[in-house]
């Protein structure tokens, strides 16, 4: 669920964090760390890079939150701009266009059973591989919407685009992902065959 569902509460937390309240900062961290981590992991494909970069993002948030202005963007959009910039910076350092690939064994996945875990990992690898082939804007919309959990309005603000434009980009991106997901082999189906 988007934190915007409690926008007023979030505003209070952000304002308290701006004023230096560490418990408010901790609350923001609790609220956003998993989403920032998922967003970066969906872009890099490496859980260790995702941890490092997510930490870097929150350090930057800590340095810059005093300068955050509500009139410029929602907090989530501001935060994910920082995350996006950190990704771009990391990519420049790496000298490659992303490092997506099969996820390493260090990745933690929510799963009920080992079979589910294997299936989830296969699905994730396949979707990420498909997402990696998307144009940058489509890829960003998909990761902001589905891994970071931003609304269309927040995604639009984070990307400096109109909401209508984001909806069009989202439609195109999902249409391209559709084939990858539709042809995805499922573990239980494979066993039945």
């Amino acid at each position: 669920m988007s934190p915007n569902s409690n926008a007023q509460g979030e505003r209070l937390i952000v304002d308290a964090a701006k004023a230096g309240d560490e418990s408010a900062l901790s609350e923001l961290y609790t609220l956003y760390f998993p989403r920032v981590y998922r967003y970066i992991l969906a872009r890099t494909g490496n859980p260790y890079d995702a941890e490092d970069l997510a930490e870097e993002v929150f350090m930057k948030v800590l340095e810059a939150i005093e300068r955050f202005q509500w009139r410029e963007a929602p907090f989530s959009a501001w935060l994910f701009r920082i995350a996006h910039n950190a990704l771009i910076s990391q990519r420049r350092k790496d000298g490659v266009r992303g490092r997506s690939g099969p996820l390493s064994d260090g990745l933690a996945l929510d799963a009920q059973s080992p079979d589910d875990m294997v299936e989830n990992r296969l699905a994730l690898n396949q979707i990420m591989e498909a997402a990696r082939k998307l144009p940058e804007a489509q890829r960003q919309v998909i990761t902001l919407r589905f891994s970071a959990g931003l609304s269309v309005a927040e995604t639009a603000r984070a990307m400096n685009k109109g909401e209508g434009n984001v909806k069009v980009i989202q439609h195109k991106a999902i249409a391209k992902l559709r084939d990858a997901v539709r042809n995805r082999p499922r573990l239980h189906e494979t066993e039945k065959v």
């Binding site: 900062l25 998922r38 969906a42 859980p47 941890e51 005093e66 300068r67 269309v152 997901v181």
Partner: protein, 270 residues
Amino acid sequence: MRQRRFEEVLEECISAYLDGRRSVEDSLALYPSLAHQLEPLLRAAADTADVFRDLKPVAGAQERIRQRILRAASERAAARLLTSQIPGFGPRRGGPPVRWGLVATILAWMAALVVVSGPVAFELLDDRMTRREMISSTSTARRRIQEIRERTRSGQPIAVADVAALAGAASDLAAAADPPALAAGDEAALQQIVQEQLLLLQQLSAASAGVETEEIEAALVLTKQLAASLGISFDEGQNDTPATTAPGGPTPEPTERGTPSDETAAAPNP
């Protein structure tokens, strides 16, 4: 127009799924005329959302990183609190907190130190240092000052660690000067600069109780060594109260917040 409506409907269904308000099936039932087009897209979107939603950081990582973030926040808060008691260092009303005062003062001290100790030290090369050592020493100090200046220009705040780094630069510069051989005027100027730096670090030390204490103490030790070499007397008491010869009079007792309350005690010597 029709395409636009479809995108609106698709987005509405995706949002409903992501928010947990409706399943894919519920959405298809809600828009029967578009169900044929919607279904493959919604299932792809739902699968994508589901696999991403399952991603979690490695156990313990989130908490470990939280502790590092909060520790950094504490360090920043302590630095802010410490410098807020010093005129010109605290945040301004109606604007973002600015530590230009701190930066400017430190840079001014260090620049003066470079100016004072540089020519003096060059006169002493025959006795104490080679020319290369002297250049290296002053270059190090200048480089550190430059780093701080660049960080300031890029909008980054100045941390207590920077004070320690600049104190290190002071130590480097001290190595370039041989106090016994200094001219009387140069020695007095150098003493004044070091005295002011000592006073600031003593105040920081007296008021600090957090993780930055070690950095301040390290800077203080370096500055004391420099002060001793210049013949500046200072107390070695519990709170390292300022030198009897320090400008601005005696340092006040720490307040309840752990910082000196009398701002004039920290004011740089005119």
